[in-house]
């Protein structure tokens, strides 16, 4: 046994001891797709005592993108002269009538990019094409979009624009606590979003809502330590903010990234799958940069579109039900033929459950109020 496995085991033993002392059910939520997958991958769910549940929240950017926004991307990709640049995660997400992957087989020019700067380079290389960046993601990804817009401006590119659906983690956490009927005892906060926004931004969740927040990285040791601290804080009854990922996350975040975000974007109301529209929960381009706003450039109207019939992704990503409660899960909806976005994304809750927890077990029910 390695030193590391000994450390993981020690945290799990502490967790078990604290959970036994608690004598009540507790549920914590992670709000990061990578945490969702890694918690399953390292078997943490199966190691939790019966009264401790880890829920997956709205932390996968693909999964939280509203159906109407997915439809807009697909619609734009089908326009003549448009080249849509997307991160690979969005390719297979199904809109109301199609997906980017399907549109590509029909001849749409859709490129999978590694970095937002690839879209800028493409716009420079192909001046006759209208290059649109499908700007999806949380605060980790948004600074790259901001820099891409600034770079397009510096180069004087008129054929570059971004369809921005960036989301902010904190308003979603508040919306969950304010409006979703799920009992939460604390949050396992996302590591890389926190690299950008800093640890201190979670303090209102701790002070106003009385919910402990523990920031962790992505390895087994970090996840086990984070859950251990959440259970211990629940036992102590003293909500606190703890940063267990200080090697990457500072109290105030990445100042340069925050400055770039502030310069290019402003907070706007955003539509979330499962949480509807939340004021100031997304990022929109400031008026100064509106010439790079694809929605404005192509006259796209914000539309609400219903989720696929029978799909419960919205409830899954807010902890209101488990994938097993969805009749489509593992039958009509599988990773090969996904219906909802949580089954499409490799970080989606449904895909994680399909891979690691497909069999129904006694402990698949979430704790509800």
């Amino acid at each position: 046994m390695t030193r590391r496995s000994v450390e993981v085991r020690e945290f799990l033993m502490r967790l078990e001891w604290a959970a036994a002392k608690l004598e009540r059910d507790v549920a914590f939520m992670e709000v990061c797709g990578t945490h969702t997958v890694n918690a399953f991958r390292c078997g943490l769910h199966s190691l939790m005592p019966p009264n401790v549940t880890l829920l997956s929240g709205p932390g996968c950017p693909v999964c939280v993108t509203a159906q109407g926004d997915v439809d807009q991307m697909i619609h734009l990709a089908g326009r003549p002269g448009v080249t849509l640049c997307t991160y690979g995660d969005m390719l297979r997400v199904t809109g109301s009538h199609s997906s980017l992957e399907l549109e590509r087989t029909r001849g749409a020019d859709i490129r999978v990019i590694y970095s937002a700067m690839d879209a800028v380079k493409l716009a420079a290389d192909e001046p006759r094409r209208e290059v649109v960046l499908a700007a999806v993601g949380f605060e980790t990804t948004a600074p790259a979009t901001a820099i891409a817009v600034l770079e397009a401006h510096r180069r004087g590119l008129k054929n570059f624009s971004a369809l921005v659906t960036h989301k902010l983690v904190l308003p979603a956490m508040r919306a969950l606590l304010d409006g979703v009927p799920v009992k939460l005892d604390g949050f396992l906060c996302p590591g890389h979003v926190s690299v950008i926004i800093g640890a201190e931004v979670y303090r209102p969740i701790v002070e106003k809502y009385g919910k402990p927040c523990v920031i962790v990285g992505f390895e087994d040791l970090q996840l086990a330590a984070g859950l251990c601290r959440l259970v211990e804080l629940a036992l102590d009854g003293t909500p606190r903010l703890e940063n267990l990922y200080p090697q990457a996350v500072s109290p105030r975040g990445n100042a340069r990234a925050l400055e770039v975000l502030e310069r290019v974007f402003e907070p706007v109301e955003a539509r979330w799958r499962g949480l509807a529209a939340i004021p100031a929960s997304g990022l929109g381009l400031r008026a100064k940069w509106s010439q790079y706003d694809a929605a404005r450039k192509f006259g796209l109207e914000a539309v609400d579109a219903p989720e696929p019939p029978g799909c419960r992704c919205g409830e899954v990503i807010t902890g209101q039900c488990t994938p097993h409660d969805c009749t489509l899960f593992g039958t009509a909806c599988t990773p090969v033929r996904p219906i909802g976005p949580c089954m499409v994304s490799s970080e989606g809750t449904c895909q994680a459950w399909f891979k690691y927890k497909r069999a129904r077990t006694a402990k698949h029910e979430y704790v509800k109020t």
């Binding site: 797709g33 990804t141 790259a144 890389h192 390895e219 090697q247």
Partner: protein, 82 residues
């Protein structure tokens, strides 16, 4: 999607850099971490260095990955070797 990986910077140009990502050379944009130098470890997300890292942490991470690799190559799923 917020996946980020640690890599070591091996070349630095104006606002662009080359990083060694476990043997692969990748181009990295350093506009979000303007203070970095050649030899620094950074966290890379979608082509951008989003944070400079403490090198001891990175070495710890790679030690674990190497340990896993050796176990996979050497022992497969033998529970005795876990």
């Amino acid at each position: 999607m917020c996946l980020a990986v640690p890599a070591k910077l091996v070349e630095l140009r104006a606002d662009a850099a080359v990083a060694d990502l476990h043997g692969n050379r990748v181009e990295v944009n350093t506009m979000l971490t303007p203070e970095v130098k050649v030899g620094d470890w950074v966290l890379i997300h979608a082509g951008f260095a989003i944070q400079q890292l403490d090198c001891r942490t990175v070495e710890d991470t790679f030690a674990v990955l190497e340990d896993l690799r050796q176990r996979t190559e050497g022992g497969g799923h033998d529970p005795a070797k876990r």
